[in-house]
Amino acid sequence: MAHSIQFIYSPDTRPDLACDRFLEETSCAGNTGEPIRGVKAKMALIEIYKLTKTYGNGKGTVEALRGVNLSIEAGEIFGVIGLSGAGKSTLIRCLNRLETPTTGQVLVDGQDLTCLSDSELRLARREMGMIFQHFNLLSSRTVAGNVAFPMEIAGQPKSVVKPRVEELLELVGLADKAKAYPSQLSGGQKQRVGIARALANNPKVLLCDEATSALDPQTTQSILALIQDVKNRLGLTVVLITHEMKVITEICDRVAVMEDGVVVESGPVIDVFTRPRHPTSRSFVDVVINQTDSAETIGYKPKGTLVRILFIGEAAQEPMISSMIKRFRVESNILQGRIDHIKGTAFGTLLLDLEGEPSDRRQALRYLNSLNLTVEVLANDPDA
């Protein structure tokens, strides 16, 4: 059996105590060499290295993670997006070892989580708050009781807990609900309690496991704004997973796109969003900007050249279409257009039907290209 070989890692890890859930999946699995420990020099706050997670054994194995490498910098909001089954949930749960990785390493602030004993792990978990899709509040406790919970189990005296609870409820805007029970709250309010609870022990990291997926769009907005706000105020590092690109564009600095247990693309959100390289990333982007060629869907027949223009940042503020029309002998028929904002950066798409002599059209296109726009010719009229 596989588990017989798994108890031979670092001498200070007691395999019988090291694992929360499954006897056969002890920590440090696969790290036969020296575990990286206490190495703090020039590292990102969270380093994920060759992480794998396999459920079950024998025929029914499921590889949820198949070698994930990521580094998450201190102070950023890092998003992981993927469809259900992509492994993103497993990934975030490996970050506080709710899920024990099969092989690989998770370093948080230089500390390898996969090699911690139970008691070390509990201390490490207090440095990381977590919020959940279904809030997971204690129904038997009041709002204040829920927020107090992490401090109580950390052994904080009442004199510390009480003012801290008030402060946290103030922070999330629920000061008037301290005595209410979770069943009396709306979804958004429950998640606010979840956030207050996650922040109770002054964590460095906030993990958000589909935190807005059970909320309506408006409430999602307000919860995202709250996450952004507490991140700025408290200098947190936020890792969030979601299947909604809107969540990513709303608050994330960087994003990783996951599919089938691996990261297929990652980078700053604006880059991944405007120039997705992987088909999965593209499909997520399409959902948000609704870029599916509506000209085609409405059966529009171009009179000239059908172009799609992507403009980012300052280009979005330039009157480039009107200057193009002035400079070249072309007419433009705007079929569709929209401007989105990604973390304050304007980002727009425009679908134009460019009419005029073919040579004029070519000149106009060359001009647009020179403006550092992404110009894509979708179709030409038959006789051009």
């Binding site: 929360d20 499954f22 977590m130 997971n136 509040l137 038997s140 406790r141 189990i153 022990n201």
Partner: protein, 219 residues
């Protein structure tokens, strides 16, 4: 038809015996049955004490075996243990031993299913906050399962009233014993009716109390 003249002192004595048997064994049952239920949940594979799952398997087998023995046989079978514990195998105090043992395993299963109702996500939230297994049991599982546990205790107490009548037949005394010996064997219909009515009232009161408390804690 006339009422049996000395019926009331008899009923009073028997009621007291039944009350004594049921209350002491209920207390002991809750005291041991709920922790046993906690162990049955926590030692499941993948639960907070999942690494000692063999404990779960062994306990489960013992509980199933105990529950499969008919109570009347169980009372007789453990007479040596009863004698060892209370020095006698006859009388209300002696009957408390089989009553409690039989009810503990029943209670354990009911408590187990009540505690299993606690959503796993809540346990994970506690884990991610750095709670120990003991803290999860004490601060999460038990308080969250409280309404269900109250229902489980209610059902167990009512069952104990029924069991106590059976135990009466093997020398335990109490209302069941009175009903059988006087009401049935001596054709005293009024005694029979009175014992049944008293038990009915008790069961109603206990069930209502249980429902009230359970509802009070259900948020």
């Amino acid at each position: 038809m006339t009422l049996t003249p000395n019926m009331f002192p008899m009923l009073q004595a028997a009621s007291w015996e039944t009350f004594y048997m049921v209350s002491v064994s209920s207390l002991l049952t809750a005291l041991f049955g709920i922790p046993l239920g906690v162990v049955l949940v926590a030692t499941r594979k993948g639960h907070i004490l999942g690494r000692i799952w063999p404990v779960n398997a062994v306990l489960g087998a013992i509980i199933n075996a105990t529950r499969s023995v008919p109570f009347i046989i169980f009372v007789v079978a453990i007479i040596p243990l009863t004698k060892f514990l209370v020095g006698s195998s006859i009388g209300p105090t002696a009957v408390i031993v089989p009553l409690t043992l039989a009810a503990i395993v029943f209670m354990a299963r009911l408590a187990e299913s009540a505690i299993l109702e606690v959503p796993h996500g809540v346990i994970e939230a506690a884990q991610s906050a750095g709670a120990t297994s003991w803290q999860i049991i004490w601060h999460v599982l038990l308080p969250e399962a409280r309404p269900g546990l109250i229902q489980a205790v209610t059902i167990t107490v009512i069952n104990l009233i029924g069991y106590s009548a059976m135990a009466g037949a093997v020398g335990g005394g109490g209302l069941g014993d009175l009903g059988i010996r006087y009401g049935y064997q001596r054709y005293m219909w009024d005694v029979m009716l009175a014992t049944v009515l008293i038990l009915m009232v008790w069961v109603q009161v206990i069930q209502s109390l249980g429902d009230f408390l359970s509802k009070k804690f259900r948020r």
